[in-house]
């Protein structure tokens, strides 16, 4: 003990000789995790086929599957199954990209190892699953929208329940869970939007245009919530965009933002915007203030892959994002998440 104390009782320089490495090590240990935890955007592209003439509808799914990009779309990596119509996906956000769900032609698949291996969670009853939404506050609760109706599981996919009460037609293509009120679910169905609030009966959400209610077949539905707690969702079709400022109780229909018009054709499967290569309020939840500067339009098509362009540029300046690793595909959905590498 005395010997140890003697070491400490050395002169000033000796003291630093001893402690400087320790201090540096300590600082390194503190700073490195902070540096490494910087989040970046991971984009997922869901392809239902390639765009060749023979790979369209029905029996063919050549070139389909889930693709992932960690460099804002410059390069893409294929994840999991070949030959599977991948309509959509979701991620358990607390898993940092480890737990993924795929909504596919043969139901729901789950990976618990960043997309290396996948397990089919559903059986013959569920097909043409077109969207999947994980309750981020209770990841065992999962909702799916299928062409034959919406389903829910509360036990991580062991058992599934068909939710048809209140639904006039079974077809639905999108489903989202309110990120603030988890028992509030909105379904993008055949003739518009429906919601669940606590019970398991779907209720029609009015979509108003010039004071009159109209049914719409919408393509996308997003929960954004970034502007205010009341600002809820966003959906669109070829012509219109609808949004809510009363927490999703009603939606107002407006002509679509002119900037998107050049991309909204019959083949446009998805349009989204992300900002500064960092985050993506139109794709997912974003709690910061809206950013307007230099944002980029990114959109996917069913016949021309994924493309993007900066708002300041002319639409003709759009750049294909498929590169060499993602040839032409019918991209049904794009989703992005913030992950920590």
């Amino acid at each position: 003990m005395k010997k140890l104390l003697g070491l400490i009782k050395c002169d000033r320089w000796d003291y630093w000789d001893l402690f400087l490495p320790l201090v540096l090590s300590l600082l390194f240990c503190l700073i490195f995790p902070l540096a490494s935890s910087a989040q970046h955007l991971r984009i997922f592209a869901c392809a239902i086929a390639n765009d060749s003439a023979g790979a369209f509808m029905g029996g063919s799914s050549n070139g389909s599957g889930l693709y992932q990009s960690d460099d804002t779309g410059k390069t893409w990596k294929h994840l999991g199954w070949d030959n599977i119509k991948c309509y959509s996906m979701d991620m358990v956000q607390s898993s940092n990209g480890r737990i993924l769900y795929e909504a596919t032609g043969l139901g729901i698949l789950r990976s618990t190892d960043y997309g290396e291996h996948w397990k089919q969670l559903t059986d013959w009853r569920i097909s043409e699953a077109m969207d999947v939404a994980v309750n981020q506050k209770n990841p065992k609760e999962i909702y799916i929208a299928t062409a034959h109706g919406p389903w829910r599981t509360e036990d991580g996919g062991k058992t599934w329940e068909l939710l048809m009460k209140g639904l006039p037609n079974p077809y639905c293509s999108g489903i989202v869970i309110d990120s603030i009120v988890p028992n509030h679910v909105i379904l993008n169905a055949r003739n518009g939007l429906l919601s669940l609030r606590g019970n398991l009966v779907w209720n029609k959400i009015p979509i108003l245009q010039n004071g009159s209610k109209k049914p719409y077949q919408l393509r996308g539905i997003k929960c954004i919530r970034q502007a205010s707690p009341e600002s809820w969702g966003y959906a669109y079709n070829d012509t219109y965009a609808v949004s809510s400022d009363d927490s999703g109780r009603s939606f107002l229909c407006d002509s679509i933002n002119p900037i998107w018009q050049p991309f909204l054709t019959n083949s446009t499967a998805f349009v989204g915007v992300y900002y500064d290569y960092v985050t993506d309020p139109y794709f997912n939840d974003y709690n910061g203030p809206p950013r307007e500067q230099g944002h980029i339009v990114i959109f996917s098509t069913l016949d021309n892959g994924i493309q993007r362009f900066k708002r300041a540029e002319e639409p003709e300046a759009k750049v294909r994002l498929d590169g060499h690793s993602l040839p032409h595909r019918q991209i049904w959905t794009l989703k992005s998440f913030l992950v920590t590498p």
Binding site: G58, G59, N83, G105, L106, K119, Q120, E128, S267, L302
Partner: protein
């Protein structure tokens, strides 16, 4: 032990026939094709083989194994035929071992290509095995991706299991762990997918979930597959098939069912698959007329729509009903490698047309996803799972079959709503008609993708869909009424539709009974300055009158209910009617009932009137034509005819033929 090709063939024949073939006997494969209906039934086969063995008789000159004998005509064929005609004086049917071997010989002789059935036939027979294994290398080298690959692979695995090299068995195992085949979205896809999984999970029963591509264990896969197949059988035999009476896809029901009926170990389940195979076959048999699949169809290919014998399923009709190898396609090899033989009663139902009969049946449309109220302008009903009802009716005679469903769209793209099929050797032995309907609504009704985009892109996959000149497809604006040999089709479309016409196909083999100088044919109405609405094609429309034809012994009268133009098309003539609220009336009879001359004389003076919900001929006051335009009513019968009877919901199908009965009872 490596077997020579000939010894392997002997072994195959012995296994199929239950008796070892006489080494001195070379079965003349050409005879098998020649004998046609003089087929060998199971009870007689052993007797024949024994007779031949005891006689030490040599039917034909010895030939190199695996070579076709079709070139050898002459005394041997005549001798063989006479001998067997004498021996088999009764009308006998079944797939004899010799026929099976002839099927395998023929399929194995096809130059190897990417087809599991051809590869399996070669390996099974020991013919050209080096090439077969090379092709198998290719077939197992990458994930081809769908249920068509799966059933072929499962079939090969089972039919060659006693001779397949172990390293290939291991490679197949590897594929089912790592390949990720697509399940598809139609009824035939699901049958192939779950049928294959049932067989393969049975082959490897104790594997954990990590050893299967979808991450489920063998037991889970077997259980799910069994559950689906049971469900499909129950739904089909109680409420009707979705892809009903399909000349194209029936082929893809029969092959997997033949494999399941042979190789499923669970005896109860195997029995259900055997019954289901018979169920599919007898449904086909009742609509079978000398190689042609008659009546309305859920899905038919473009070629077969105007030439029925070109349909894929004809391969199975010839094989099962006629014991013939005259129309082979590769998958018949799978059926020929099983022990299944079509029951005699089904063959008799397929062939006995001595008395005309009517058959009523109920089917289900494909499950609708959207636009459930738009499948027909005359009907918007559907069941609780969004299947439109299909009321099918056939009037079958020895000379022709007139069959139809009520109209509307119940299957996308490939539906054929009615047909008049002739018992004729001539090509294009059919008259059929439609309103060429093309819309995003039809596609959106049955496919989940965006309707407008599908319409934009569909020409890549189904090139004919958007064609004005197509011969397949239903229309929501079509209403069809039939009473025995009379059919009425009425059309009424909105201006918004792309094509405004009704088309009728008349085959080249049908000769007109009214020559062009006949006053009837030359008559034109006041509007003969109207022109055909195709760019660059100018035609006069002809006014209303009967068009009378004869095809072999059948006399046909067609009465367009509007102006029409006729022009040549592949295989025959197209009659095009451009007016809305139009249609046609079709009548058929035979020269046994009325002479051609009398037929012409009688019909040229007839006109048609609509009165009290009926169409009547005048001035004979409805003696020739009198048909009620009545919507089909809900029926209690899934099948109702002299041959077939099944009450809706019962799960029991009774087959009857001349006092003999066979019951397919699917109740558990």
């Amino acid at each position: 032990m490596k077997l020579s090709s000939q010894s392997r063939r002997d072994e195959v024949l012995a296994a199929q026939g239950g008796a070892k073939r006489n080494p001195g006997l070379t079965l003349h494969s050409d005879f098998i094709a020649l004998k046609g209906r003089f087929t060998v039934h199971r009870p007689y086969r052993a007797m024949i083989v024994l007779c031949i063995r005891n006689l030490g008789f040599r039917f034909a000159p010895p030939q190199a194994a695996g070579t076709s004998c079709l070139r050898h005509l002459g005394i041997w064929r005549v001798f063989d035929t006479i001998f067997f005609v004498l021996l088999l004086s009764s009308n006998l049917f079944a797939q004899s071992p010799a026929t099976k071997l002839a099927v395998l010989d023929s399929i194995a002789a096809i130059p190897v290509r990417r087809d599991f059935a051809i590869v399996a036939a070669k390996i099974h027979l020991g013919t050209d095995t080096a090439a077969a294994y090379r092709e198998l290398d290719t077939l197992l080298s990458r994930a081809y991706g769908d249920m068509f690959w799966m059933y072929g692979c499962a079939g090969l695995y089972y039919v060659t299991q006693d001779v397949l090299r172990p390293n290939y068995k291991a490679r197949i195992r590897y594929c089912w762990k790592h390949f990720t085949p697509y399940r598809g979205d139609t009824e035939n896809h699901f049958l192939m997918y779950y049928g294959s999984l049932l067989l393969m999970s049975q082959a490897w029963p104790d594997l954990p979930d990590t050893d299967w591509f979808m991450g489920k264990s063998s037991k889970e896969i077997y259980s799910e597959s069994k559950e689906y197949l049971d469900h499909w059988i129950d739904e089909t035999v109680r409420y009707g098939q979705e892809e009903w009476d399909s000349p194209r896809y029936g082929y893809y029901y029969i092959t997997p069912l033949a494999l399941l009926a042979e190789y499923t170990k669970d005896p109860h389940l195997r029995h259900r698959f055997e019954m289901m195979l018979e169920y599919e076959l007898v449904g086909y048999a009742a609509d079978y007329l000398a190689g042609s699949y008659c009546g309305a169809h859920s899905r038919v290919g473009d070629d077969a729509a105007i030439d029925p014998r070109k349909a894929e399923i004809t391969a199975y009709g010839k094989y099962f009903f006629e014991d013939s190898v005259s129309h082979l396609l590769p998958d018949v090899a799978f059926a020929a490698m099983t022990s299944f033989e079509c029951p005699k009663i089904i063959c008799q139902i397929a062939s006995d047309r001595s008395e005309p009969y009517e058959q009523y049946s109920i089917k289900r449309g494909r499950q609708m996803l959207r636009y459930m109220d738009k499948w027909s302008t005359a009907d918007s009903t559907h069941d609780s799972t969004f299947h439109a009802p299909v009321y099918k009716y056939d009037y079958m005679t020895k000379d022709y079959c007139l069959g139809s469903m009520q109209g509307g769209i119940v299957q996308p793209i490939q539906q054929q709503s009615w047909s008049l099929v002739f018992n004729s050797d001539k090509p294009n032995n059919i008259i059929t008609g439609l309103n060429p309907y093309v819309s995003a609504t039809e596609l959106g009704m049955f496919f989940p993708e965006y309707p407008s985009f599908m319409l934009e892109r569909i020409t890549g996959t189904k090139a004919s869909y958007t064609s004005e000149d197509k011969w397949v497809g239903g229309s929501p604006y079509e209403r069809i009424y039939q009473d025995k040999n009379i059919l009425v089709a009425l059309y009424d479309w909105p201006d918004s539709e792309e094509y405004h016409e009704v088309d009728l196909f008349v085959p080249a083999a049908a000769t007109s009974l009214i020559d062009s100088t006949h006053p009837l044919h030359g008559h034109r109405g006041n509007d003969n300055n109207y022109y055909f609405p195709r760019p660059g094609v100018l035609r006069d429309y002809e006014a209303l009158h009967w068009l009378l034809y004869k095809l072999d012994s059948v006399l046909i009268g067609v009465y367009p209910l509007s102006r029409f133009a006729s022009y040549a098309t592949a295989g025959g003539t197209r009659l095009r009617m451009p007016d809305n609220n139009s249609g046609y009336v079709l009548y058929c009879t035979t020269v046994q009932d009325i002479s051609s001359k009398t037929f012409v004389k009688k019909f040229k003076s007839l006109r048609l009137v609509k009165s009290g919900g009926r169409i009547l001929s005048q001035p004979d006051n409805g003696e020739a034509i009198n048909i009620r335009l009545r919507k089909p009513s809900e029926s209690a019968w899934l099948f109702h005819s002299p041959y077939l009877e099944s009450k809706k919901g019962s799960g029991v199908l009774t087959l009857r033929y001349k006092g003999e009965t066979r019951v397919l009872d699917f109740r558990k």
